[in-house]
């Protein structure tokens, strides 16, 4: 088993792809936490804990859920909104949950405002400017998610979660696989369940905006 652990950075300018360091993807019913395969149930708890600990827990929905290109996508969007609303209900004063879209993968210059939308080519700008210390990718195509996750790990200390509809992401610190409406709702349930039991790192830790 690989000794490499996928941890919050900043790792260095070009962090290695976790797969090249021996980290492999979970099987159905499993997830991975820091590059180690774990039961999915444990991942829900850890993801909810990370969200509730964060100063600025943020969800980044991608084109696969932002656009209602089929019924399932629209339902996932509803579930994501529910998770965001749950986060807002469950955090303590001083914490600021955010929902920032990744509508496009194109390097749109000079149009893009990195604080209101996130682009896979420069995700670190959105992380830095909004001081995001925990984020979840959902509905982002795999190759773009991998790119973003590596850049974030390379340049920031943000904790990354991938709610992946395919086989998961080694380059996230925590990754689910086979994402569905039910799984997103279950994560929201876990956030509710842990409400009030997790100490947010408001005063102590540096946030994800380290540059």
């Amino acid at each position: 088993m690989s000794q490499y652990r996928v941890l919050p950075g900043p790792e260095h300018f070009l962090p290695p792809a976790a797969a090249s360091m021996g980290v492999y993807l979970p099987n159905p019913g499993e997830a991975h936490i820091n590059g180690v395969i774990a039961p999915e149930e444990k991942a829900y708890e850890e993801a909810a804990r990370q969200f509730l600990m964060a100063k600025v827990p943020t969800i980044f929905p991608g084109p696969l859920v932002l656009w209602a290109w089929n019924e399932k996508a629209a339902k996932k969007a509803t579930a994501i909104r529910h998770l965001y609303n749950t986060l807002k209900e469950c955090v303590q004063p001083g914490q600021k949950p955010m929902l920032i879209p990744m509508p496009d993968y194109r390097p749109k210059y000079p149009k893009i405002n990195p604080e209101v939308e996130i682009n896979p080519n420069h995700p670190n700008l959105t992380i830095w400017h909004n001081k995001i210390d925990c984020c979840m990718f959902v509905g982002v195509h795999c190759h773009q998610a991998n790119l973003s996750l590596k850049i974030i790990r390379g340049g920031t200390s943000c904790y990354t979660i991938a709610m992946c509809a395919q086989a998961g992401h080694e380059d996230a610190m925590l990754s689910f696989r086979d994402a569905s409406v039910e799984k997103i709702m279950k994560l929201a349930d876990w956030v509710k369940k842990l409400k009030g039991t997790v100490q947010p790192r408001l005063a102590t830790a540096k946030n994800g905006a380290s540059s």
Binding site: V65, A77, T78, I100, P107, Y109, K111, V116
Partner: protein, 300 residues
């Protein structure tokens, strides 16, 4: 993505940046008689571009995007050059190919789309500069035409390699001295429109983009003929004002000067016999449609 899929998930609508909301609300996807007159009345399919101020290429882009008959089911293939700076701002599917490969990419793409979507019209439009079309990619350009691939090739002819500082291109006029071509061009401008005709293109036009209504007409003709019959080629003069020593306001006049009857961009058009027949049928249908609409309006 077909038109009915261009809608934002209701629960995430409020977080989408306004340019996407505007595209859904007021762009002209699916509008049968879309054209350059929609510019200013509806959301254009091009956002802010990163070309130089006053660049005629930006005008050409706006007119072409306003004129595509089927933008929601069109894929544009671009290549290296100033055009590749614009494609990130364009709300039509597009692929950036390696320098010169654009017609090869488009050939495969068009065939794949025909297999994947046999019941849906999918247009492919190549848009590249003169370096990609005539110099580096001439092989791919010609081979696509020889094979009668059913897509449109548009060449933005600025008569040199503009965004690398002004090197000589095959479409540069004889004797022209550019910043990176100090000796002056020694041979004539390659006559690609004639070559296109001889290579099997069914519709060939050589013109400038000074008149939006003309651009609209040739784009619609070229796309429809390519869809039904075979390859089409448009060579549009989009002068690089920086490299020919003009100011931002002088691009339009430069095009007007270059399209006079004795000049190199005087309007030239070639239409094959099958294409002529198709255009006649389309015109007849259009007339019928307009008459029916008028009658309906009269009854109302």
């Amino acid at each position: 993505m077909s038109k009915e899929r261009i809608k934002i998930s209701e629960d995430l609508y409020d977080i989408m940046p306004s340019d996407y909301q505007d595209l859904v609300k007021s762009a002209t996807y699916g509008k049968e008689d879309r054209g350059w007159k929609d510019i200013g009345n509806s959301k254009e399919l091009i956002e802010q571009h990163s070309l130089c101020a006053g660049c005629p290429e930006s005008m050409a882009f706006r007119y072409i995007l306003a004129s595509l008959p089927n933008p929601e089911d069109t894929v544009m293939v671009g290549s290296t050059g100033c055009t590749s700076l614009v494609f990130p701002m364009v709300a039509v599917h597009n692929i950036h190919s390696l320098f010169g490969n654009q017609n090869a990419i488009a050939s495969g793409l068009k065939r794949a789309l025909s297999v994947r979507f046999p019941d849906r019209v999918k247009d492919v439009v190549v848009l590249a500069g003169d370096g990609a079309t005539v110099d580096i990619g001439l092989d791919m350009t010609l081979q696509a035409w020889f094979r009668q691939e059913k897509f449109t090739t548009i060449c933005f002819d600025n008569e040199l390699y503009a965004n690398t500082g002004g090197q000589e291109s095959g479409l540069m006029q004889k004797g022209f001295v550019a910043k990176m071509a100090p000796v002056g061009k020694l041979f004539d401008k390659v006559r690609l429109p004639e070559i296109a005709r001889e290579s099997g293109c069914h519709y060939v036009v050589n013109c400038t983009v000074s008149k939006p209504s003309l651009v609209e007409k040739v784009i619609r003709n070229a796309v429809h003929i390519a869809r039904e019959i075979g390859p089409t080629y448009l060579q549009l003069y989009t002068p690089c004002i920086l490299e020919i020593g003009k100011n931002s306001m002088e691009g339009l006049q430069e095009m007007r000067d270059s399209e006079k009857p004795t000049e190199r961009f005087a309007y030239k058009e070639y239409i094959s016999e099958p294409a002529k027949q198709l255009l006649a049928e389309m015109a007849a249908k259009d007339k019928e449609r307009k008459a029916a609409a008028k009658q309906l309006a009269g009854q109302a």
